[in-house]
Amino acid sequence: MFRLLSHIGNYFILLGRTFAPPEKRRIYYRQFIRELNNIGINSLGIVVIISAFMGAVITLQTAYNTENPFLPKYLIGLGCRDSLILEFSSTMVALILAGKVGSNIASELGTMRVTEQIDALEIMGVNSASYLIMPKILAAVVFNPFLTIISIIIGIIGGYLAVIFTHVISPADFIVGIQYAFIPYYIVYALVKTIVFAFLITTISAYQGYTVKGGALEVGVASTRAVVFSSINILLFNVILTQLMLS
């Protein structure tokens, strides 16, 4: 318990150092662009693949589980759309990114720590926390909403393709469904979640990597912890945000 509290304390101290004003904007900007590529663009592929398949599966499962003839068929399209927006494209995608981006950040910073690259920055008089971590946070917070939107779109396309190939319902019903009773606020809810999750993934993983002590073995441990703690926090904040925004 005490260890948990001291970790939380140190996490906020690191955040404090991270959000210091940049010393040279141009260089921070260059780092930001690099991270946009590392963290954002490089995650595009996995998000597209997973979203397409999940959209298809959600559609098929909804279809096979609603045999009641009194329910209109278009509800299947609606189900697909809302599951994607509410839960899948924000939370599930975040969990997958926690695995990919989180371990990547923790091992990069951890390696820099144990090979004294972070010390080298500090000696030069660079605020290493701010220089290394802030661009990552910004890149994820800026780019992940796009990933979420893309995930929703690809998911719906995946559902539509599943409908076309399996004929569980008519494609026209599906199209009606995905347009039926659309609540724009759900998109706001999804994007707010995405931004919070992006912040959690990058900061928790950065904390784990930045504070590594020891050698290569500890870097591996830190990278695992980054994924585990990011995921737990995503699930926790999913509940909190849902209660706050949808109740």
Binding site: K24, T115, D119
Partner: protein, 251 residues
Amino acid sequence: MIEVVHLSKNFKNQLVLEDVSCRFERGQTNLIIGQSGSGKTVLLKCIVGLLTPTEGDVVYDDTIFTRANFQEKKKIRRQIGMLFQGGALFDSSTVEENVRYPLDMFTEMTEEEKKERVNYCLKRVNIVNSNHLFPSELSGGMKKRVAIARAIVLNPKYLLCDEPNSGLDPQTAIVIDNLIKEITEEFNTTTIVNTHDMNSVMGIGKKVVFIFNGRKEWEGSNKDIFQSDNQALNQFVFANRLAREFKTPEK
């Protein structure tokens, strides 16, 4: 000039350095020697402020670094070039970007000027035609040399090196040692080198501080090191000479 005054350092309950005082003059290579684990790295990190001493002070010419405010510390840090044990080059940057980094970060030079300065420093450490290689593509000795180039690119007043020739073959080690010595004299830096290598002591040890179990056990020059009757020092010196005489590799 760098001076260490009654410096002690604890980690939790472990006393790593105890009441160390010594003075390192400008324009010469000052060595801190001692076996592995004796506290050399901790001493060097206390000197540059990566670790905070539990007690005592570190003085850079006319500034008491350990009591300086943030701005003063920053000013001194900009005048320090440090060479880390493994080189500590940035993995994701090329040789050129590594050396250029301090210029990008702390100067308003034009691209031309930066390029010229980078090439001058790389040439000074005999690295040519390798500007676009990444650290993972360099040999151990080259990494060290690029790290030296990065350490001197801002014309530092102070040059600190942690085990500059650990992990290098004896020949390359001598090249690195001599490079450090030449740079020290050429740029008139206050240089401190951590080492456990007697070859370095004999080669460049103008002033030698021997650390044993966290205490300063002896100091002098490499000329009087064999005349000492300090037992711990003799053991250290003898162990190394023995190894050399039997011509076994040191690692």
